[in-house]
């Protein structure tokens, strides 16, 4: 079991907004899980909890048996175990593509040429070998998301948390990004948790989790996978 949530709650604004209301969930190593649900049902909040970007208000949330809110070094967890991919890309505008991919590598003990070579290799693998010295603003949405994926993989994480990675993309780029993520999932065996509104994308996952009002309302394996 890579993730286990029991009665997970998250409130905002001193309890006025309840984003997660006692959510139960288990995710196994190497799964591709799609999370779907209406806007505001708490999908992004769940991903933030899984990625230790924020702390739950109540309930249990474990990564490989260890409580995520009590991790001694959440930064190391985010750097080493997790790769994030966001709808809005979240690239650093004043750094080139090659530099953006190196940003997560600063915590480790890689040398400068090792960081650079590693980033170049990752960019090649997402098909951006020719864009090293461009700035994010000079790229298309699909290309930006590829950079973000390469950055997410910088430290070879076991888990990729993708929050509507295709939400800002046209359908063609969206397909390419999903293919790329699936490819990573298959080749590298990363556990992929993907939030999406697009049911055709969700259908490619091995499991679809539906959320409503901060809870899981259905959890089913997809027949084709």
């Amino acid at each position: 079991m890579i993730y286990q949530a029991i009665g997970l709650q998250k409130q905002f604004d001193n309890g006025k907004v309840a984003a997660l209301r006692g959510l139960d969930l288990e995710i196994r190593q190497g799964e591709f899980v799609a999370i779907v649900g209406q806007s505001g049902c708490g999908k992004s909040t769940l991903l933030q909890m899984l990625g230790a970007l924020d702390k739950p208000s109540a309930g249990t949330l474990k990564y490989r048996g260890n409580s995520i809110p009590d991790l001694p070094d959440p930064a190391a967890y985010r750097a080493q175990q997790i790769g994030f991919v966001f709808q809005a890309f979240h690239l650093l505008p004043t750094f080139t593509v090659l530099e953006n991919v190196q940003i997560p590598m600063f915590g480790g003990n890689l040398s400068r040429p090792q960081r650079k070579a590693g980033a170049a290799e990752l960019l090649e693998s997402v098909g951006l070998g020719h864009r090293f010295n461009h700035y994010p603003s000079e790229l298309s949405g699909g290309e930006r998301q590829r950079v973000a994926i390469a950055r997410g993989l910088a430290n070879k994480p076991g888990v990729v948390l993708a929050d509507e990675p295709t939400g800002n993309l046209d359908s063609e780029s969206a397909l390419q990004i999903i293919d790329l993520l699936l490819d990573l999932h298959r080749k590298l065996g990363v556990t992929l948790v993907l939030v999406t509104h697009d049911l055709s994308i969700a259908a490619r996952a091995s499991r679809i989790i539906r959320m409503k009002d901060g809870r899981v309302i259905s959890d089913q394996a997809t027949p084709t996978n």
Partner: protein, 371 residues
């Protein structure tokens, strides 16, 4: 790309703001270098002057003002009889505006006393006797006043002929107008008054004996002070005032610099909240983010310090050549002062970065990402 690249990138992304911040700090540091350099220069000048005249102990009443108060000339005879005193000579020195020069040092020296002996005559002659109404000029004083032998100099209401030009072997000596004590007393309306007694001690007098001599003098002249010439600068009240003024003005300039850097750093931290969120999300430690912000502000401090020292040196050189100062203060282009100023600037940078760094390290990654 290194950590330093990242630090540098955030300073170069807003060149105008970085530039303006640098101007702010560097003006502060330039003020420090200029003011303290002038104060030190003045102190060094006085010390050199006493050395050039060959004085071991100076007796004066330094309470208040830059120039000591006058006292009765009879004190000299009393002081001269104290043990270990070889020679004593009376001086009445004033700072006055003379003709076009805003401020000049005018030194009336007891005719025949040792204060006259070390200067070398370059042109003309010395005054003939104690009563001759004539002056000799230090080389710089001659230059500043644009006078040569045969001209006259107006001091207060008297026109006095210039009979000679001398080299006094110290900047302040060369910037001085010399005349006989008697004439000085007459011209300035200070009959029977002096404001310095310079003393020479027997050669090889120990420090303890000199100190004893100072105490003996204090016994017969309680309102005044006897100071070992090498310590005049450190202990006199006038110098303390100058020092206090220069340092407190500098402090003010530094505070302005701190506020400027702090403002800039707060702005960069605010507008980069989202980017700090990204850094946190990809696993940067809070410590590294604090280090990043502090390095940025320290770098601003360092650059501001370098530019500021440059401006300060320029200011010192310019001031040193200006009419009010020339021949009177030689600005101190002290490398130690420059290093201290740069160090102050870096410290200012780091201090200004502390609060912004602390703020940025307290961000919750998810909240920062949403901003």
């Amino acid at each position: 790309m290194t950590f330093f690249t990242i630090v540098l990138r955030s300073l170069t992304r807003r060149p105008v703001r970085t530039g303006l911040t640098l101007v702010g700090i560097s003006i502060g540091i330039a003020a420090v270098v200029t003011l303290v350099g002038m104060a030190w220069g003045y102190e060094k000048g006085v010390a050199n002057q006493l050395d050039a005249v060959g004085t071991d102990v100076v007796v004066s009443n330094m309470s208040g003002g830059l120039m000591p108060k006058v006292f009765n000339e009879s004190l000299k005879a009393k002081v001269a009889t104290l043990p270990r005193v070889v020679d004593a000579t009376s001086i009445l020195m004033q700072m006055l505006s003379v003709e076009d020069a805003p401020i000049m040092m005018i030194s009336g020296r007891e005719w025949g006393g040792f204060a006259w002996q070390k200067m070398s005559l370059l042109e003309g002659r010395m005054p003939k006797n104690a009563a001759e109404k004539a002056v000799v000029l230090g080389t710089l004083a001659a230059e500043v006043l644009k006078k040569k032998v045969g001209d006259t100099v107006q001091i207060e209401v008297e026109e006095l002929p210039v009979v000679g030009i001398v080299d006094g072997h110290a900047l302040m000596e060369n910037g001085t107008i010399f005349l006989s004590l008697k004439v000085m007393q007459e011209v300035t309306g200070n009959d029977g008054k002096i404001n310095f007694v310079n003393i020479r001690a027997i050669p090889n007098t120990s420090k303890a004996q000199i100190n004893q001599l100072c105490r003996d003098i204090h016994g017969i002249f309680p309102e005044g002070r006897a100071m070992v010439s090498t310590e005049v600068v450190g202990t006199s009240q006038g110098f303390r005032v100058i020092r206090a003024i220069s340092w407190s003005t500098s402090l003010l300039a530094i505070i302005v610099g701190v506020l400027g850097v702090m403002n800039t750093m707060l702005m960069t931290v605010f507008e980069r909240t989202h980017e700090i969120g990204i850094l946190l999300a990809v696993g940067w430690r809070r410590r590294r983010i604090v280090a990043m912000v502090l390095c940025e502000s320290a770098l601003l401090g360092l650059l501001g310090g370098l530019v500021g020292v440059g401006l300060g040196v320029l200011g010192l050189v310019t001031l040193g050549a200006s009419p009010g100062v020339r021949g009177f203060i030689e600005p101190d282009l002290n490398p130690q002062l420059m290093l201290i100023s740069i160090a102050i600037s870096v410290v200012v940078g780091v201090i200004s970065g502390l609060y912004p760094a602390w703020r940025s390290s307290r961000l919750t990654p998810s909240v920062a990402l949403q901003s």
